[in-house]
Symmetry: C2
Subunit: 336 residues, 2 copies
């Protein structure tokens, strides 16, 4: 439908029940989140500037932006100082991801805007995926699957030996919701778990290292699952990779920016690291092509969070956060 | 070295210390097991008919077979009634695998020949691999890795949703050493484990089904890890696949013959099963080519047992079984 200069409410509104509170959907035009839209539209008046691609954004803002009190982020669409400046009444940013490094938290704090994240919705799925990547790299599941599919088992015979899981020293970078779930799973495999985190968690029995380099020195495998912040950017640096050593393995289910990707590619292609399982990358969906040919690397398209169950669980959490906000109750998953 | 009709002791002997007890290495010519050979040769006089490809087998047998008291199987080389007939003094068959379906156990029993298997050597590694296959099929690790490597993330965007692990009903076919290790690992993921076995194990708290069809009806996933015997051949039949249902997943780390492979291919290609993770096949190394194009299937070249650690652990067990036999002590891993 083309912008016609007249009323265009129906072009930006998913529903038009004026009695319902208004919610702004904040997304990149290419990304939609239909299960969440379908759930929310029964409870809120949804404003989606990208609902009609022909409607200029300035037209939307001049009409609606002043009244928007709550915004829901679909995916990882950035919420910047500039976003907030256009929304003077905004009091709530509802994130739909575990990490909220795409939200300018300082700017939100200064304006008194509350922010929520995906809470525990993704923790189990991401932990499952981290373990899946670890098992895959050490036991060469994807590489062996390629070997069979290309007919090499028949022509070349036995596949090379994998590496035993039990007894491996696993260092978890960030023992939050996800890290803890990872630790519990790997303990059942007989791995020896230790961790680093902003501060030691007295309730945890796993050995704590205040420094990621020391953790790497004492580990066979690093699992990166902390939040991406200014402090954690490239927390897995060249020095950490050196400390991990030639047989070391890095699993990243956090954010691409937690690992110095250029160094990682160098270490892997030069045989200075044992392997990697990567669900996230610095410039998604770009993946360094140097990794495509490596059998000790498993590559995944930011998939750790995406199961039907986690999407349903997240959608309900977003709904409940919004309901809580509009009825002046405590938010369910506020970012501290 | 050619057979020259004269003495050929050095062609079949790995070492020639006549003071050491003799051991026959029983293997297919194409398969060798050097770490085990290197360990055993320090303790025994090793007779390997395939050491020199030019030496006729009948020549070996006429010279040595009558005196051989112990035989070590490398890999899955069959020990048949015919094998035993040629070795009248044989009293011990040492297997180097978890399953010993390649050994004619009845014939051994009749002749008073003891048989040993790999004991616990492989249980943890095989269990790890079974879980790796399960995680891979449900969370689509190998398929997503292919997606990234072929550049499709960039061109097609998000990969389809996977399936949550927690809460899944997992039926274990054979709660032996391997099955129990699988159960312990999957419990840490929040799976609901039940099992079938020759008989109920009173010490186990997991629900028991006497019938594999009933187990399949109550399960989302079947993990096949029992021994292959006349009774368990094709234990996962067409009826079991039907009972498991369209979303059902089969993981096989036991033996190819436990699953009716022709039916499995039919069910998978027709969309009558949700997926499969297969480490073993009915006619290895032949893998049904119809499976090569399926993204809900993970294929592995009988790799579940092969880690450096399990090979070392097995080699020591074989050595200790042989030492026990020659000093009249109890065997460490006798097959009952």
């Amino acid at each position: 439908m083309a912008f016609n200069g007249g009323s265009n409410e129906d072009e930006i509104l998913i529903n038009d029940d004026n009695d319902l509170p208004s919610i702004l959907i904040h997304r990149n035009p290419a990304f939609n989140f239909l299960p969440l839209t379908n759930l929310l539209k029964n409870h809120f008046r949804l404003l989606d500037p990208h609902q009609s691609p022909d409607l200029p954004l300035h037209s939307f803002y001049s009409r609606h932006a002043h009244s928007v009190r709550a915004l829901v982020i679909f995916g990882l669409c950035p919420v910047t100082e500039d976003t907030l400046r256009h929304l003077p009444s905004l009091k709530l940013v509802v994130g739909s991801s575990a990490g909220i490094d795409h939200v300018d938290l300082s700017a939100c704090r200064l304006r008194g805007i509350a922010v929520t994240d995906a809470g525990k919705s993704f923790a189990e799925d991401v932990a499952d995926f981290a373990v899946a990547l670890l098992l895959d790299v050490l036991r060469q599941v994807s590489a062996a699957d390629r070997y069979v599919r290309s007919g090499l088992w028949h022509s070349l015979g036995e596949y090379p030996l994998g590496s035993k899981i039990g007894g491996k020293k696993v260092g978890i970078v960030g023992l939050g919701r996800i890290g803890l779930e990872v630790a519990q799973r790997l303990s059942a495999f007989g791995c020896r778990v230790s961790y680093t985190s902003r501060k030691q968690k007295p309730s945890m029995l796993f050995p704590y290292f205040s420094n990621v380099c020391e953790l790497a020195t004492e580990s066979d495998i690093l699992i990166v699952c902390c939040s991406l912040t200014t402090e954690t950017h490239h927390i897995v640096s060249k020095d950490v990779m050196k400390a991990l050593g030639k047989k070391g393995v890095i699993i990243n289910v956090g954010r691409g920016g937690l690992v110095d990707e250029q160094e990682l590619v160098h270490f892997l292609t030069q045989g200075e690291l044992g392997g990697a399982g990567l669900d996230v990358f610095e410039n998604e969906p770009d993946v360094p092509k140097e990794l495509y040919g490596l059998d000790n690397v498993v590559l995944s398209p930011h998939n750790a969070v995406t199961t039907q169950a986690s999407i349903e669980s997240l959608s309900l959490l977003v709904l409940e956060n919004l309901k809580a906000f509009f009825s002046d109750k405590p938010l369910l998953s506020p970012v501290s």
